[in-house]
Symmetry: C2
Subunit: 327 residues, 2 copies
Amino acid sequence: MTDPLPTHDDVRRAAERIRAVATVTPLIESPLLNEELGGRLLVKCEMLQRTGSFKFRGAYNRISTIPEAERKGGVVAFSSGNHAQGVAAAALMLGVKAAIVMPRDAPRLKIDNTRAFGAEVVLYDRFGESRDEIAARLSRERGSTLVKPFDDPGVISGQGTIGLEIASQTKALGTVPDAVLAGCSGGGLIAGIALGLSADLPKTTVYSVEPAGLDDMARSLESGRPEKNDPAARSICDALLAPTPGDITFAIAKQRLKGGLAVTDAEVRKAMALAFRHFKIVCEPGGAVGIAAVMTGKVPTKGRTVVVVASGGNVDPLLFQEVLATA
Amino acid sequence: MTDPLPTHDDVRRAAERIRAVATVTPLIESPLLNEELGGRLLVKCEMLQRTGSFKFRGAYNRISTIPEAERKGGVVAFSSGNHAQGVAAAALMLGVKAAIVMPRDAPRLKIDNTRAFGAEVVLYDRFGESRDEIAARLSRERGSTLVKPFDDPGVISGQGTIGLEIASQTKALGTVPDAVLAGCSGGGLIAGIALGLSADLPKTTVYSVEPAGLDDMARSLESGRPEKNDPAARSICDALLAPTPGDITFAIAKQRLKGGLAVTDAEVRKAMALAFRHFKIVCEPGGAVGIAAVMTGKVPTKGRTVVVVASGGNVDPLLFQEVLATA
């Protein structure tokens, strides 16, 4: 890899770009839960971000940096979930055409939402076609810029603005976080956050959190080289299924993360119900892994301040009902 | 009534007092919903406030103003819901003892939560005893200060800090709200908000929203004198059941509200489900009445900006499941 890694200054520049359009999401806590934990748990509410997840930050920042001459070719992205909506919404706001490559069997609501943001949805067959090839072809034919879901300096820097907000919000609360946890699929969120925190909170430890059995980042950090997940592994966390860390995200993670944690589906369900009860927020499964890791004692909380990023809230109402009924 | 009404300056002083301890709750919107409405709907997320509702603001402000010499007598309040938790949490933070008079048949969770905040819970029989008399006796015997749920200048001023935040947050979003809506029981929230908005947004119209059949404020504003609800009236909105407006709150409302709106239980349920889907927030029934009023066209939205206060999220998981399943 010859490209230089994105830096803390890139995150600062991203913050300038998204300032007028992104929500500064709140950092909240529950005194009763804090008492139970014997420490301070602060939850960064990214389900309140535009489009219901943090993905809008990275998408908007990346698309903002496309040179004027190239914008008329539009952007293309592949995603069945939060990245699709983030790119579609950001492109609409920036007046850039967007084509989103989505699996033909993606949930109807997600396809409809992506179209509602004015994006062209290009459906493909997950079992017979390659989304990468389709996206590459669109990019070639139309001159579209590919907005990758995670392994892109502009996307990582955009997600990193969460780290800047954590630094300023914990300062306003009069505390210094001992640890920051966020979910990890390809690693764009956690790598960005680590960069964002690095200037003001260099001593804060940063952990990725993944679904058990899909903890490629944790194992990669352990072994020092990119590890792959077993293709047969399954999880309720539909947003956290990337098979292996990105090149750029892993390079940053190796430098800046303390390690990787993993949580089971049952732990995630309990965390979703707890977030409902104590914080009055809607977490999708992938958005609740940080809370799950804290509540199961995977990082110590006694006498400490721990920040978790609740990264998204795009969850099916049926699943949410089931979680409330059984967790 | 000889006491002067609280003023905008009182709200500003309240904001100073609660600054370090209350959450500045976000004002969020959904681009897709805005498109549907042909206008801009902004939701003030008070379920993210400490204790899960706006009540913490008024309670903390009121208790802060108790003279040092009187604090050792503690505070007393009666409430089966959000005010109980707001007073208990605020008293704990200010080092003041709190006794909360709650009905013996109040939900176990609310009693437990109030105790968890260190308050003494004094149970009474709703059918044989008067909570006012019990609170008055405690106040007499112990020298406790009664923290009323709404008809108190300090409480109203504290709730009014939401109005100040709406003014500064809409300014930051580059918009001027045409209307602001909030739920109304005794009127502390809506009166406070009207005061809070009055300096910076004098042209913004303010509406109370009540459950249909329990719309005493709406009818009082109409007739010009305090009207009572039919004692037989029922609603899913357990936080909005006060029988008649307060003296102080009604005096403010008469001066500053455009009028009162009412919504049915079915409309509230739909609004709770919509808040889940579009905003990823948990609204209790009484917290969703503003959204319900907007979504049913009770105020115009086309080409306008409307702010609704989603005032609390303390809802039973079983009810929430039912709402998601049926609304």
